[in-house]
């Protein structure tokens, strides 16, 4: 362990650097999300993830948001264990009939103001599972959705971009309400 820790003193951080030539999109996003989130909330934005019937592909990419490359926590975005601690519900999957109640209860357990982000093609309208006897369809048929991030699954960069849009939307909503 000492070796690894020692090495990390000299190793460059893996985090996508601010304006990086290699992947400019992430870097650009990084600054934007950071500033907007801070302006709007002045603190962290807490996200509770709910799998309402996904194939688990979306979850894999949501996990990736936490790895050293995307490192969402540096933008003040973090995943929390309880809906009661959350500002945002990130919901995946074509909502299955067996998960409907659990999703509703999680939504009601989340304090206001709250936002729902539907992640993935299934979450929009059921994707390729639409029409099944066991599936309701999109997330918006069960709880109101503020933002949809498309993809099957969306890449971590697409999700970051979506979260930025959300933070901006959150901004306008506060102004108008």
């Amino acid at each position: 362990m000492r070796k690894l820790l020692f090495e990390s003193v000299f190793r460059q951080p893996l985090t996508e650097p601010a304006p990086s030539a290699a992947d400019a999109a992430v870097a650009e996003l990084a600054t934007a999300v950071g500033q907007t989130a801070r302006r709007r909330l002045g603190r962290s934005l807490s996200i509770r993830e709910v799998d309402a019937g996904s194939c688990n592909g979306c979850e894999l990419e949501i996990h990736a948001l936490n790895n050293a490359y995307y490192d969402v926590e540096r933008f003040g975005l973090r995943f929390v264990a309880s809906p009661r601690h959350a500002d945002v519900l990130m919901v995946t999957g074509p909502v299955t009939k067996n998960m409907r109640e659990a999703l509703e209860r999680t939504y009601h357990a989340t304090p206001n103001p709250k936002w729902v982000v539907a992640v993935g093609d299934c979450a929009r309208d059921g994707g390729c599972f639409a029409g099944s006897y066991a599936v309701i369809g999109g997330v918006s048929e069960v709880v109101p959705v503020d933002l949809h991030i498309p993809g099957c699954p969306p890449t971590p960069v697409a999700m970051l971009r979506g979260l930025l849009a959300l933070v901006e939307q959150a901004d306008t909503r506060t102004i108008t309400s």
Partner: protein
Amino acid sequence: MPSLIDLTLEGRKVGQHGPWPRVVVDASVWTFAASELAHGRWSLLGLWGDPATVHMAIMDGQTAGIAVISLDCPNRRFPSVGRHHPPARRLERTIHDLFGLSAEDSSDARPWLDHNRWGVRFPLGDRIDALPKATPYRFLAAEGDGLHQIPVGPVHAGIIEPGHFRFTASGETVVRLEQRLGYVHKGIDGLMTGASLERGVRLAGRASGDSTVAYAYAFSRAAEAALDLGVPERAVLLRALLAELERLANHLGDIGAICNDASFALMHAHCGVLRESVLRAAGAAFGHRLMRDVIVPGGVVRDIGSDGVEAIQAALDNIRLRFPALVELYDNTASLQDRTVDTGTLKASLASQYAAGGYVGRASGRSFDARRALAYPPYDSLRFDVPVLNEGDVNARVWIRIREVEQSLSLIDQILSRLSQGAIRKEVPLGGEVREGMAIVEGFRGDILVWLRLRNGLIERCHMRDPSWFQWPLLEAVIENNIVADFPLCNKSFNCSYSGHDL
């Protein structure tokens, strides 16, 4: 002792079923097979329904001979296999939920996937209206002084799939764990009915997202077996390349995640970086980080260019450079070993009774690996080891994965060095009237079985069996006598699929 061959001679062979035989048998042969399973002479590979028939896939562990036996059930009943052989129980409950065929004298007649929310009962059989009110689900009893219950889920505290766990604990020690699954049931078997092969393979690739390659692979091989279709050499190699990249990414991610559940975040961070490097290489080479929708019946739809090969090679070099230090770190950290050694021990006898696939079986002395035992191309001509350990604890499951990472690195090298130019896809013929095929492919978590029947080129019935079916019940067994706090570790070291199981 009769062999599988003898058994299949007893029945009426079905034409056009490849590559293994399927025979229609009578109830006495069906029951005889169940007792052979119970005596451990054969392994249960799958048990599934049709509107008026039940099918069972069995394997002779000694010879790796495989057969499917089918029993017609005109009065909607069939002799229970689960009564003799517990691994069949959840499968029988599912057959009842979906088709309304009941297992006679079964020891557990509770519903499994059906939570009485679909608005209909027996959706794939003779549909009837749902019950007006769901009867409460009865969990098995665990009684005694000072026992308390801890209900967990379906929504868990982390970014994971939904399922319900009911722990009964005495103080910190778990006395019983009972799972209740089915929350992510999407009715995939039902959606397959009437679908084209093109739609079928997309659905298969979405049965369990972490195994999207393995499912598309198994589905395509089953369709090709039904249609007697060979695949171009380059596609055969590319498929194995995709499958090994998927295995590599999942193992790397999971090794880190297991350590994270023992609060050792450093491993998690480093393994997460390696996993990301594989996904990025896959994205560069095949246009999708999880390599979704690349494998189709007849071959693959995306070829790999020289820059893709370079990206993969660079990721491999990076893993070779960094991974050994992480293994050393895992091996030398006493606080970590303290959590993983002797935790969640799965006995060899149980692993073999349940025919547990993947690292779960191989950490408990069961050496089955479909790539080796069934030697489908190109694995029949590639060099690799199948690591096996006997300890059966969390630590052993971690080590099997570490060894498999090393094997996958070597397999990818071999595959890349053999790739020669050529076609990547063959036209799929529509096929004759009725054709059936089955395939078993080694996914990262174990053997995935796909069985399908085509009629005039459309899917009439397709059943997919995830390795998790035979691993989930074992998780209930291994947690006994461990402390509640070690559950996440045990659970992660199994990493069963919810979506693949609930289907």
